[in-house]
């Protein structure tokens, strides 16, 4: 059986390698991705329309804002599914564990984490808030923020981390993130535009329509960051405890 699988994998690998010859070479100006009018439109008009230097963020959060909103919803639903499936599952696997959780947190580890967690969280906020200008944004900042809570759980125990960020609060924050995103979209709809058409927010903000799009992008990135932070921690807490939310790693 294993040998058959290996042969199939190798054959498909060869097929893919053979198909990869048709790819345009890297940085080819005649490649479909480079010559398409959509690419040149984004390159030419991102700076004019939104005043955002980082084109990737502008495309993700503004031009394709609808797409990113439902990506956030996908993250939310995935986290919800993992937590609810594991919580409802049968209680049997504990005896399979080969390791016993040491409940005495290590002095050196906890003190290092004490020093490093604020730095990680500040960096996460920077990545989130600076996502227009430099690489980064809601997803990356949110993951870094969630990782800081996971680090607390690893250094002390899960109970310490859950005391700061309980699972119920996780899902509250995650839902709030989506509400922020959709709320900004809905707000621009109320002000006369289409859903997620941020330029119309300029009617109530004391800025130009371009800067309104700039600031609204920050708003939706904050929403994405909320959801991703909460779901990453909820995923870790649920998976490391087999859904019981105690005696975890």
């Amino acid at each position: 059986m294993k040998r058959t699988a290996l042969i199939v994998v190798l054959l498909i690998g060869l097929l893919l390698a053979w198909a990869a010859r048709d790819f345009p070479s890297w940085g080819d100006p005649d490649a479909p991705a480079s010559s398409s009018p959509v690419s040149s439109h984004f390159i030419a008009s991102t700076g004019v329309d939104t005043e955002v230097p980082n084109m990737v963020t502008a495309v993700l959060a503004d031009y394709r804002g609808f797409d990113t909103m439902f990506e956030t919803v996908v993250v939310f639903i995935a986290g919800l599914a993992v937590v609810s499936i594991l919580r409802g599952g049968p209680r049997r696997r504990t005896r399979d564990r080969e390791f016993v959780v040491d409940f005495e947190p290590d002095l050196i580890v906890t003190n290092t984490v004490r020093l490093i967690v604020p730095v990680i969280q500040i960096f996460a906020l920077y990545v989130l808030a600076h996502g227009h200008v430099s690489p980064g944004g809601g997803f990356q900042g949110g993951v870094a923020m969630g990782a800081s809570f996971i680090l607390i759980a690893l250094a002390w125990d899960l109970k310490t981390a859950l005391a700061r960020f309980s699972i119920d609060r996780c899902f509250l924050v995650a839902g709030l993130g989506i509400l922020i995103y959709a709320g900004i979209g809905l707000f621009s709809m109320i002000l006369g535009g289409e859903f997620l058409d941020y330029a119309h927010l300029a009617k109530i903000l004391p800025v130009s329509p371009e800067m309104a799009r700039y600031h609204a992008m920050l708003g939706v990135e904050i929403g994405v960051g909320f959801t991703v932070t909460a779901i990453m921690f909820a995923l870790y807490a649920s998976l490391s405890t087999d859904g019981r939310m105690r005696d975890g790693l």
């Binding site: 294993k2 696997r93 399979d96 990545v127 996971i150 870790y236 975890g248 790693l249």
Partner: protein, 82 residues
């Protein structure tokens, strides 16, 4: 020339690491090797100028997904049977 050497090095390392992560029987080591794979992908993205993708790969792929894999292995048998 230097860039091509760098690419060739990373791509060949990627193949080695991908095969290793499947071949290793110890799941914790396998998860760590998978993290190395993600980090190599991150280097490749960064080298191609897709810095946003590289950042996501570094945080999600090399960071959190390795932790989540290890957290899952914590509740399983550490050695793969087959």
């Amino acid at each position: 020339m230097g860039l091509e050497l760098y690419n060739a090095m990373i791509l060949s390392l990627l193949v080695v690491v991908a095969a290793l992560s499947l071949a290793i029987r110890d799941l914790v080591v396998s998860a760590m090797v998978f993290g190395v794979y993600s980090f190599l992908m991150c280097l490749l993205w960064a080298e191609m100028g897709a810095v946003d993708v590289a950042f996501t790969e570094a945080t999600v792929g090399a960071g959190v997904s390795t932790v989540v894999l290890i957290a899952t292995i914590f509740n399983l048998k550490r050695k793969a049977k087959d």
